[in-house]
Symmetry: C2
Amino acid sequence: MVASKRARRSNAKRITIADVARTAGASVATVSRVLNGVDTVDPVLAERVRLAIGDLGYRPSAAAQGLARGRSGTIGVLVPDLANPYFSDVIKSVSAVARTAGSRVLVMDSDEDPEIERELTEDLLRYADGLLLCSPRMPRAHLAALAGRGTPMLVTNRQVTGLALHSLTVDFFQGVMAVCGHLARLGHRRVVYLAGPEHAWANAERLRALSGAEAFGLQVATVACGFTADDGYAAASAALDSGATAVVAYNDFVALGVLARFHEMGVDVPGDISLTGFDGIDMARFSDPPLTTVAVPRDRLGRAAGEALARIMSGDEEGEPGAIPVELHVRASTGAPRGSGGTPS
Amino acid sequence: MVASKRARRSNAKRITIADVARTAGASVATVSRVLNGVDTVDPVLAERVRLAIGDLGYRPSAAAQGLARGRSGTIGVLVPDLANPYFSDVIKSVSAVARTAGSRVLVMDSDEDPEIERELTEDLLRYADGLLLCSPRMPRAHLAALAGRGTPMLVTNRQVTGLALHSLTVDFFQGVMAVCGHLARLGHRRVVYLAGPEHAWANAERLRALSGAEAFGLQVATVACGFTADDGYAAASAALDSGATAVVAYNDFVALGVLARFHEMGVDVPGDISLTGFDGIDMARFSDPPLTTVAVPRDRLGRAAGEALARIMSGDEEGEPGAIPVELHVRASTGAPRGSGGTPS
DNA sequence: TTGAAAGCGCTAACAA
DNA sequence: TTGTTAGCGCTTTCAA
């Protein structure tokens, strides 16, 4: 029962390109050519090689290929929370783009922790040809250090200025502006914002837009909240107490949490108070009432990110990726405020 | 402006272990030892090496390490849909386990397509030391072929018998039994099941349980549906027409879709009809009414999967992983049927 | 405790 | 069109 040194894991030692070459009666170079679609191979020989590959069930080792080629064919993606559909949607879409380009995606989840984020990024660098950092929470200094490493890199959902770092953003500003405009048109004068993570660029942009809205006469109160349904649930009564006639939630989860609490409290939406979400997750359509929200085209964001990163990796430095536009979806959770004469436009 | 052959990507050529050795005045073997925590290195030398590593910002190439060691330190995970929180939760948890074991997770998403699933699995084999197939939809023959490849492998959410394939399942059977028992106790005699993907083991198990419940006098109608909220929304009126007093949805998404449609139709839940979900996603708590559902401990599933796979990879073949238990969460979406005398137990 | 050197499986010159 | 062979960056004997 003593396994030989190299048969520890399974009794069949790994099938290599040499095995294929031997059984096909060709050289490893030829096998490699066939593998890589180089067309200077005699069709007959090529067919023999392909047959051998099939018979032996040979698959090239990714490690060996990566070492020899100098690139791994992998792009690393870092997200703060994989369980958030916002990010999983983006990843799906990035993966799809990567796949058509012949590469794979290595995903890591930082659990919203800036320190873990740094570690994971270091690790990703060892594996990947390029990095996609989604909504990175890490301090600017770390980002700067990474930027100096020479690895092609793209940051999304965060604007980083003054660093040699490409970034692809979402136009949160316009999104919140659209929400505010919509509410103002309905007759609202006082709204309360349930704020998201303090250090998130996404939150900062929303706040910036709310300030802008104040210039147009909208009064905005802010209540610290968070980004989960639980956070929204917990902040609901505080939002109500603010005296505002509309709640602008950081995202759809928060809004759904608020809605659940309002139901419990017997607060009618939008009769007693209006409510808006952000992101446009699927569930926002299925709540009662359906949520007015700002749809972020996550598939488009993912695709754009994948393509931009590919461009960066290929050394094409022209043009910043830019910002992804968003779209207001008006649904039944917003209406005219009480006593406004009730003339929704 | 003509870049030299090896400086195409960035002007700094990759820092290798040789660079570290040189600047530390040691051999590559010694650097490797320090890197791998081999303690037969003189502390002073080791420190010098560590310094050099820090100064140079050296990170070992994953490809080279993988090639030399014969393993990549990566485990491949295949899921049918990354956007489904069920799977993203599992992945989060698997990743966490993998991380403590010093490995990373390569995730691929098959988009519920058995053919893509096969391709991706082939590809994962080239990268990973072990494979985790979540709810694979691929035909048994493919699974059998994979099982013969010698790569350590674990299948979750699908029972595969007669093959040298370990599987870790969730006790869907007991879950649905618990739901049926709960409904029966409330006085329901006729329920309608909104079925999930036809070829999914998860669906088959639910059907098996429903048959079991029929033996106890519950009448069960089945309506083909799907696994998304949209599917549920579309199937809602058919469910209503079945004449059942309770709807057993394939999962929470379907249930939430049904709920939304019922709201629109003015059907009261649970007054007019009861409704249950499955999986216990977060949102199930925040609907109106909150959903009675079966909570599947996805973190536990992920952890168990990660650990079981680790065991399999280390050659420890003892014991099948087994089945993860589930838990019925009774909430407000279920009640006594109309005219039953109204005595909820 | 250290270092030299032989691989690991593949790619890509370079020769033939 | 084909084959030989020198790397790719690291680990790991084996000697010293």
